[in-house]
Symmetry: C2
Subunit: 198 residues, 2 copies
DNA sequence: TGTACATCAGTGAACGCGCGTTCACTGATGTAC
DNA sequence: TGTACATCAGTGAACGCGCGTTCACTGATGTAC
């Protein structure tokens, strides 16, 4: 076709973007390269001009997803995110909207199911994203007067509860919508409610 | 071959058993019926004498996994489980051994990643298993003096934290083993530590 | 600045392979007389 | 109780299909002179 280098870079981003959306929605294994390239607006053969294998694409997707979420716990606008209170962030994370928006939500939750089975490079991106997220929450805890050890422990426990609640609520949303919503409400209550120790 | 009905029922169980192990280890999508039947000791063609489709097998696996876990939160011996304290159960659930034993551990955690993508019948089994688990924990909370509403909320929050911690710790075990263990420790601390409100 | 040519992101057919599923066939089990 | 036959859990080859990947080819872009 003959394409400018700038255009080629944009096309590569389009492929990664389509892949991220499809991978989250259907799982990495369930998305074929033919369907993926079609979704990005190309034909199958062009894939290998941009990536040396599907595994390399998965790593690129994970790297991008993690980088995009730096500064925004649950996706969405970064500037607005930074100005939100911790309580508001939890309420947004454990909202019905975030539960239903797998394609754009928190990548640590969206890829948690796939993470143990993807390639080493992609796993490393995932682990870095998790470590960064916990570090950010730890810093916030220290600013509120916790010791570094307390803050780290609290950040890990709180984030695990957020992810666990979201994942379970997504897992049963079709079969038992009432349970799905009750889980979200219980999570919000536990993280924002009467407790002041974490 | 000519097989007795008793033998046929045993063979069916062997298929479901092999499927449960392989599905948990590699994900439902990544396990083919040829490999599955071979693992169970049969050839591929016999599969459809027992199940009308792969989806039907997934439902059977989920039903069995959920039924087997009734009375045993983290797998293992039911009688011993019943005599354990809540603290000991949490320590076992969030142990390195349980993290590394995906094939035999808690099915709610083991299938959480696949749950949103499996068939309706299997999803219903998963949701029932989750509801039962929470109900069991709620009953225990009421016995310790909580109101039914408090106990339900606490059970959901606690179980979500257990599952979230286990899933995140499994997700990063290869890429960042230290983080994986720190997550487990933080979860044990949060669930068994100084807090007395949940 | 204009021309000649190498580069490389596209296309789309094709590769071997494993998928879920179907089929004709086998032969011991279990039943009917 | 013994014989004749239907049942059905096995086998293993084959089905169409989509997978990840490779390939020969195209033609505008970008470079060298």
């Amino acid at each position: 076709m003959g394409i400018s280098r700038e255009q080629a870079a944009e096309n590569r981003e389009a492929i990664v973007g389509a892949a991220e959306r499809l991978f989250r929605e259907h799982g990495v294994d369930a998305v074929g390269l033919t369907a993926l390239m079609k979704a990005a607006g190309f034909t199958q053969g062009g894939f290998y001009n941009h990536f040396k294998s599907k595994d390399a694409l998965v790593a690129a997707v994970m790297g991008r997803a993690v980088a995009a979420s730096e500064g925004a716990l649950a996706g969405g606008d970064v500037a607005r995110e930074a100005s939100m209170s911790r309580e508001a962030r939890v309420d947004r994370y454990l909202s019905v909207a975030h539960r239903d928006d797998v394609a754009c939500g928190c990548p640590m939750a969206g890829f948690a199911g796939d993470a143990p089975r993807i390639g080493d490079e992609a796993q490393a991106c995932y682990a870095k994203g998790l470590a960064d997220t916990i570090e950010r929450m730890t810093t916030a805890g220290i600013e509120q007067g916790l010791s570094p050890a307390q803050a780290t422990q609290a950040a890990m426990a709180r984030f695990a509860q957020m992810v666990g609640t979201l994942l379970l609520s997504r897992a049963v949303v079709n079969a038992d919508p009432a349970l799905s919503e009750a889980l979200l409400a219980a999570g919000r209550q536990a993280l924002n409610g009467e407790r002041a120790d974490a």
